[in-house]
């Protein structure tokens, strides 16, 4: 007879093996491409984790992944599939840019919450409309959110070709913000504590991302409205019985989900590039789907998955930079394989592994019983 499955089986062992499988598949691809696999891995790990600077970049990318992962996960708990992360992040960035361009004379301690709120509300609005359409018109959020991605990217292009375009510039970029409105980088922050960190794009938004994780956990599992959100996600009729207004929950959830993803704009625009440009979202919005999937829609899992993706992103860039016949596409390939093995095929190994493990567990039981008898 089988014993109970130990808790670490599904939560640690299986994900770890899946990641190893994904890496194995990556190695095969690299080998086919004629790269020295071991050297490639070394470049990647060295680039992502080998130095303070590397780690710093990894965490900077992870920040974006955390925001989009949290947003997708929250919507998922209400049974909604928000794939409009790209559009919502774009709108968040637009909001940040408007604040930084027009209110740059405000002191930073006022400007920071202001840009935070603007990013949140612009992105929330962009997700709220699909939410409203779903609640009152029954349109599917997958369709509407992806449409809104297209609208947002067109809107961004329009803004950068017209109202927000920097004067005397050919490129579709906005003016560079006044330095007073830049978010403090972690290097600056560390300096004030007497520590020294390399100067990288990693900024204070990373801390805000971690705070968001905690807040989302409290929201979902420790509050009435989070409870209602999850009930709606499980069963519409059950929610109806519980006296929960589904429409209200759908709209609120979509808005908050959008707001979380909108914070990508904060990290990218106000934290790093200090100007609005066309392709700042760069797939981070879509990556949130994979992050949420891998992190099992739990904030802690999302942080871990985000750091993993950060490693892949940073390490992949290093690889593309240092190895001749490898381009930036390698990052997409790595991410794709990780999603394939950790997401789509996450239970592939489970049955055979359990069967194999059961024998072990049973033997362990026997040993334990013997020891008890002896004692």
């Amino acid at each position: 007879m089988s014993s109970a499955i130990p808790w670490w089986f599904d939560r640690l062992l299986l994900p770890l093996l899946n990641i190893l499988l994904a890496f194995g598949a990556c190695a095969i691809v690299l080998w086919i491409a004629g790269v020295d696999v071991l050297a490639g891995v070394q470049v990647m790990l060295q680039g992502a984790l080998g130095s303070k600077e590397g780690i710093s970049y990894t965490l900077y990318y992870a920040t974006n992944f955390i925001f989009s992962g949290l947003g997708v996960a929250l919507a998922w708990h209400a049974g909604l599939f928000n794939i409009g992360g790209e559009g919502q992040a774009t709108m968040g960035g637009v909001g940040v840019a408007i604040v930084c361009l027009y209110f740059d004379n405000l002191p930073l301690f006022i400007l920071m919450p202001l840009s935070l709120l603007t990013a949140a509300s612009f992105a929330a609005l962009w997700a709220f409309i699909p939410g409203w359409l779903n609640a009152y018109r029954g349109s599917h959020v997958v369709i509407t959110t992806i449409m809104f991605n297209l609208i947002a990217s067109s809107l961004l292009v329009y803004l950068l070709a017209g109202p927000l375009k920097a004067p005397q510039q050919m490129a579709t970029v906005s003016q560079i913000f006044a330095e007073s409105s830049w978010l403090p980088s972690m290097a600056q922050l560390a300096e004030s504590f007497g520590l020294s960190l390399p100067n990288t794009p990693l900024n204070i938004t990373f801390l805000w991302a971690l705070v968001c994780c905690v807040l989302l956990y409290i929201y979902l599992w420790r509050s009435g409205i989070g409870y209602e959100t999850r009930v709606v996600g499980f069963s519409h009729q059950g929610a109806n019985f519980a006296g929960i207004k589904r429409k209200k929950i759908v709209m609120i959830t979509m808005a908050i989900s959008g707001a979380l993803i909108g914070f990508i704009g904060l990290n990218e625009i106000q934290g790093n590039s200090h100007q609005l440009h066309v392709e700042f979202v760069a797939g981070f919005g879509f990556a949130g789907i994979a992050i949420a999937l891998m992190g099992r829609n739990h904030p802690l899992g999302i942080v871990i998955a985000s750091i993993l993706f950060g490693v892949l992103y940073q390490g992949g860039s290093e690889l593309a930079f240092s190895v001749d016949n490898i381009g930036n596409d390698i990052i997409m390939l790595l991410q794709g394989l990780v999603v394939l093995f950790c997401g789509a095929l996450q239970w592939m190994l489970r049955p055979s592994l359990l069967r194999w493990l059961n024998v072990k567990v049973r033997q362990a039981d026997v040993i334990a019983v013997k020891e008890v008898n002896r004692g």
Binding site: A4, Q237, G238, F241
Partner: protein
């Protein structure tokens, strides 16, 4: 002793931390009706799932007709002549009975399926067992009982020699249950073994040749009902004689002068494509008053409107005309009366267990233990602190003996009876002024029913009122003070329970059946042409 048709030997099955079956042995003789009883969570359903191949045992042997076999799926089970009826079968509603039954047959041609042979066989079976429905009607036109019969017909067509039924009588009206009983006896005479899992000890006692009692995952007794009384049987199951408190045994308290609930001229129209159809009201001009300190049953045929009436009073379904007056305050259709408001006023509702809306299966028992009472005005504790939530749940589980005592387990992993106990525990713990119940004891074992009744009577004696509907006539008689009879959405009459007995109540309902039957026939004919 007849030859054994099916033997289950030393079946073990664990779920996570729970031992569902711990060496269960069961022998079913060929051509017999074999009853299985046991308390909630004793392992009845798991054992049946093992026999039907839906669940794989950790260890143990299954012997069919003398040969040891491995049943890896339901398909294999059917191949070996084992069939099982489910409470909820998903039929293709728009297709005919015939098409639904042959679905899953081996397909010989993807272009043209020849149904003449199947039709001949099915017609023969249909005539042999006297099924009244035609093979060509669409499933939508059949009621619950007829769908169940279609399921039996399907099993017979597949050549099943051992038929497993899980709570088959739960949702049947008395005459439908009678018919099913007769049918099962016919099957038995044909040499088919029938296994029935049920909590209705009385009907099993009459019907079965052998009854096995399950307790803690083991078969502890195999008895012949002819050799012992019903009381002894219940004693075997719960270890003591079950004495159901009876409504007439209460000390009559003065009823409140003003009714707690007053429903007047309540009308609900059917909706088709978002428009109300006035010609076809689901509830029509219903009038009903409930006073404090009484229990009222709504009796009627299945789908006569009693469930909808409960839903409307609970605020789960809208109404179009009339009013609901609760504790002196009147609500009309335009007043946005809803279930959250009803709860705030002191109404509690335990919905039909088969709908699975009273608990959310994917939530842990802890979180299910305050479903419906999560909003600010209703919750009795903060949702922030996990240990308070857990304590609340553990208290309810201990009080109602919900097993296993694992508050963190998903509520969907508890047996049906234990889930229903949690729903009742939650709703009763609110000390409601008006309690609405739909099939309150369905799936709940006889020992726990006793406890449910005690709790309900306690609520009533404290001045609360209870409105319930049930398909069990015995339950109506023993629980209620007054019975309201509803027919096609209209309240037709009401009687004091003290004035009638079960037979008379049955007659009242049968009278409706007689009135309804011609109407049903015309409607099927109308559809054919």
């Amino acid at each position: 002793m007849l030859a054994a048709a099916l033997q289950l030997k030393d079946i073990f099955k664990h779920y996570q931390q729970v031992e569902a079956l711990g060496g269960a042995c069961l022998t079913v003789a060929a051509g017999s009706i074999h009853g299985i009883i046991g308390e909630n969570g004793a392992g009845k359903s798991t054992l049946m799932q093992v026999a039907y191949g839906v669940t794989q045992p950790d260890s143990g042997e299954i012997v069919v007709d003398g040969a040891v076999i491995k049943i890896s799926s339901a398909q294999v089970a059917i191949k070996h002549g084992i069939g099982m009826l489910h409470q909820r079968v998903s039929w293709l509603d728009e297709m005919s009975v015939l098409e639904n039954i042959v679905l899953g047959d081996e397909i010989k041609s993807y272009v043209y399926q020849d149904l003449t042979k199947a039709r001949q066989e099915l017609e023969q079976l249909r005539r042999e067992f006297g099924f009244s429905f035609s093979l060509d009607v669409a499933m939508t036109q059949l009621n619950y009982s007829e769908r169940q019969l279609v399921d039996i017909l399907r099993s017979l067509y597949r050549g099943v020699r051992i038929l497993i039924l899980d709570e088959p009588m739960a949702l049947l009206s008395p005459d439908q249950a009678d018919y099913l009983t007769k049918l099962l006896v016919m099957l038995k005479l044909q040499g088919i073994s029938v296994i029935i899992v049920s909590h209705k000890l009385a009907s099993l006692h009459q019907l079965c040749d052998v009854i096995s009692v399950l307790s803690n995952g083991k078969v502890v007794h195999d008895v012949r009902p002819s050799s012992l009384s019903l009381g002894q049987l219940s004693k075997l199951m719960v270890g003591r004689e079950i004495v159901l408190p009876h409504a007439s045994s209460r000390n009559k308290q003065a009823l409140t002068h003003a009714p707690l609930l007053n429903v007047s001229n309540l009308t609900v129209y059917a909706q088709k494509r978002g428009r109300r159809v006035r010609s076809d009201p689901l509830l029509e001009q219903c009038n009903l008053s409930l006073f404090g300190g009484e229990i009222v049953a709504i009796a009627g045929l299945p789908n006569a409107g009693q469930e909808l009436l409960l839903d409307v009073i609970a605020g789960l379904h809208h109404f179009n005309r009339g009013s609901i007056e609760l504790f002196g305050k009147e609500y009309r259709a335009k007043n946005h009366y809803c279930i959250a408001k009803a709860r705030k006023l002191g109404v509690a509702y335990a919905p039909n267990p088969t709908l699975e809306i009273g608990l959310i299966g994917q939530l842990s028992m802890i979180e299910s233990s305050f479903l419906g009472y999560q909003s600010k005005g209703l919750r009795q504790f903060s949702l922030f602190n996990p240990s308070i939530k857990k304590q609340h749940c553990i208290n309810l589980m201990k009080q109602w003996r919900i097993r296993p005592l694992l508050a963190h387990m998903l509520s969907g992993n508890f047996s049906g009876g234990n889930q229903q106990k949690m729903v009742l525990a939650r709703e009763l713990s609110r000390q409601p002024k008006l309690l609405l119940l739909n099939q309150p004891t369905q799936g709940v074992d006889a020992g726990a029913v006793e406890y449910v009744y005690q709790q309900l009577f306690a609520l009533r004696d404290n001045g609360g009122c209870i409105l319930f509907c049930s398909s069990d006539l015995d339950e109506m008689i023993s629980l209620s003070d007054r019975i309201v009879i509803i027919e096609q959405g209209k309240v037709v009459t009401q009687v004091l329970t003290a004035d009638i007995d079960k037979a008379q109540l049955g007659l009242l309902l049968v009278k409706e059946v007689l009135q309804q039957q011609p109407r049903q026939e015309t409607s099927t004919q109308g559809n054919k042409s």
